[in-house]
């Protein structure tokens, strides 16, 4: 069995070298999956653009997503905070990956946990935002701010993205557990952390597009 394992390890080594991208098959698959997921978000965003252009009128997001502080309306404040949180989580994720390659278990787990917490905070903000809009009467089929599609796309786009953040948190939790209990040490590689990082950065990047196209325009 030991020899068989050795020869298999050899085969897997060859496979990475033979890849046109010089990357392991796990990483290649994550990249292809990211393209697929990007196209799914792309389809939703293009649909949103199509509908908004064909209707002609739209709600004013600066007004809808404003926070009232001390009687003054500050446009997009919550969204700015949410964006800051998510971008920061990309930073902590990068630190987790860097520490993973230094085989620093403790710090890897620490930064993964920070990333998860930031992700959860982001989703928490989203919950606040949804509650706010729903209590003001926004429904998938109607809203007080503009054409009904405004609410419909708001829930669809942010809901779909929020689900991605949540699954990302779950994914990172599994990876953190594997780091902590030594599974990755036994495998001899921390590449799994980097691959999870690819997904996390991708979800952050998608938010930048949603932020630009839905909230800023």
């Amino acid at each position: 069995m030991a020899t068989a394992e050795l020869s298999l390890q050899h085969e897997f080594h060859d496979y990475t070298l033979r890849s046109p991208f010089r990357a392991s098959w796990q990483k290649v698959m994550m990249w292809v999956f990211i393209v697929v997921d990007a196209l799914t978000f792309g389809s939703l965003l293009v649909s949103y653009g199509f509908t908004r252009v064909s209707i002609g009128t739209w709600a004013n997001p600066a007004h809808v997503f404003a926070l009232h502080i001390g009687g003054k309306e500050i446009p997009l404040l919550l969204i700015a905070i949410m964006t800051f949180i998510l971008v920061s989580s990309s930073g902590t994720m990068a630190l987790a990956v860097a520490n993973a390659y230094e085989r620093n278990k403790k710090r890897t787990v620490l930064f993964l946990t920070l990333t998860m917490l930031l992700g959860l905070t982001f989703v928490g903000c989203q919950v606040y935002e949804w509650t706010h809009l729903i209590t003001h009467g926004t429904r998938p089929w109607w809203n007080p701010y503009g054409p009904p599609q405004f609410g419909a796309y708001f829930f669809t786009l942010t809901g779909f993205h929020g689900m991605h953040v949540l699954s990302g948190v779950l994914y990172l939790a599994i990876v953190a557990r594997m780091v902590a209990n030594g599974t990755l040490d036994r495998r001899g590689s921390y590449q799994l952390v980097e691959i999870a990082g690819l997904y996390w950065h991708f979800v952050d990047l998608i938010w930048v597009f949603i932020f630009t196209m839905f909230y800023l325009f």
């Binding site: 020869s7 085969e11 990475t16 098959w25 389809s43 649909s47 495998r187 001899g188 590449q191």
Partner: protein, 619 residues
Amino acid sequence: MDQPIAHAEAAVDAHHHEPQSFWTKYVFSQDHKVIAMQYMITALVMGFIGMVMSWIFRIQLAWPDHNLPFLRLLMPTNMESGTLQTPGYYMLVTMHGTIMVFFLLTAILTGGFGNFLIPLQVGARDMAFPYLNMLSYWFYFLSCVVITASLFVTTGAASAGWTSYPPLSALEKATPGSGLGQDLWLIAIALFIVASTMGSLNYVTTALNMRAKGMTLMRMPLTVWGIITAAMLGLFAFPALFAGAVLLLLDRHLGTSFFLPHLVVGGEHIVRNGGSPLLWQHLFWFLGHPEVYILILPAMGITSEVLSNGARKPIFGYKVMVGSIIAIAFLSFIVWGHHMFVSGMNPWLGFAFVITTLIIAVPSAIKTFNWLGTLWKGKIRFTTPMLFAIGFISTFVTGGLTGLFLGNSALDIPLHDTYFVVAHFHVVMGLSSVFGIFAGIYYWFPKMTGKMMNERWGKVHFWLTFIGSYGVFWTMHYLGFMGMPRRYYSYDSYQFLPPSMHTLQMVITISALIVGAAQLIFTLNFLLAWLRGKKAPNNPWQATTLEWQAATPPPHGNWGPVLPEVHRWPYDYSVPGASADFVPQTVPVEIEPSGEHHRVAAAVNGHGQTNGHGNGHHA
């Protein structure tokens, strides 16, 4: 930063422990060969259901409102009186299209052939992610269960056409089939997309990363090229339909108006406005067009492989074949508008789509030319797989030529709602892929099962299918040009259709039933051969590619202790100076000469044969 030995432990677990129990060996198997057979058999069963549906509505078209009491058993909801009711007709047509396109053709070509051939032809032990591969099949199985179950819903299955255009598919009141049936349709499609995505991620990663030593990308058989390009198309095109399906479900149940403008239905104003049914059409066809190439590219690959083997000649213009596959795949993403010429599209935009559409004729024609070049002066063996491969070329050319008619918006607009379109897409994507699939099944059946299929009945199957199919679709082209509209449930009450056209409808139906009978011959041949067929030798077609070097049927892990090593391209047939008329890819060039490095010279030379100084000692 890569650490390749990385996941060896997990991979050793996944790849190396041979499954022991019945359940892990045949049911929840992670072996790509078992999953391939599961995909193939499930898809063939679905295809059979789809075919029976076509018999029922073809009978209605030839003998309108004819009483067929036995059909009451098959379809209790829509056949109460023994004659097919209008909603039943639309339901059958919708389900026939959906089942054939997704659940038969897409599933068998990528899930069936992709699973079986990719690891074996590139020299891998299994797929990169065996567990994901198993999950892919079970999601597919679930989607088949959902779509089949929708047939038994009291309001009937979906009936808005396989394209499911809203508002027909978005409003419950629109048709009986727009009730629970339409929901199940959308759920089944979403499940299918999940299954197909998991499968395709595997196919692409495996072919890119897990090739055996010496198996460079440009030494992969064209079948692998066709399948992984189709997998890429699926990965990049299905997201649009997935997004569309989600939005349509929201329109149906959450009261959104993504696809619904303000409408008056049955004198009642519906409380929706601002949506556009055209958005669905764009999302659907952004998938829908690449989808036809998802079906045709693997069939093209299989055909190339079988033709080269049957003609005992290297494939003509290998590099150009690969280039054409990639060119077709790329172009398929920028032509979807040609399905929407009649939607009121701006003529200038239509013009752009006409141009991109007609450009696809170039790589398609190159491929056809190369197939003919491969046959030219070959020592052709007319085996059953070879007959089907030649049949593929015939139907592909026929369907491709009518594609040139329909790619022109000026001609498409009058022809779009006639039988001409029905005939065109059936020939070019339905028949051609089916011929490719049959070529593949007859060709690889010995490797899959270790048994040979009966050649005589195979040939009977081919000739009945070939002639019968032309009987169906040649006739349909005529009817279309004469103005026979599609989607009509009964034609006998329309004055503008002369009685002669009615006779042609009967010709179509009789031909269709003959083709159907031929598929029963195939089914029997398949089952009998598997149960008690002649034992297959290791390499019955004297082929060069890797899978024929494995044991028959290949064991778990495919290759025993040592992986094969590849020394040449996959088409070393009739190499001058070689001891046999084929040299397997595993034979070193020091032992037998190779035609690999003379490909360019041969192509320039004009007749594709590796002539002259045939030794490949210089690398």
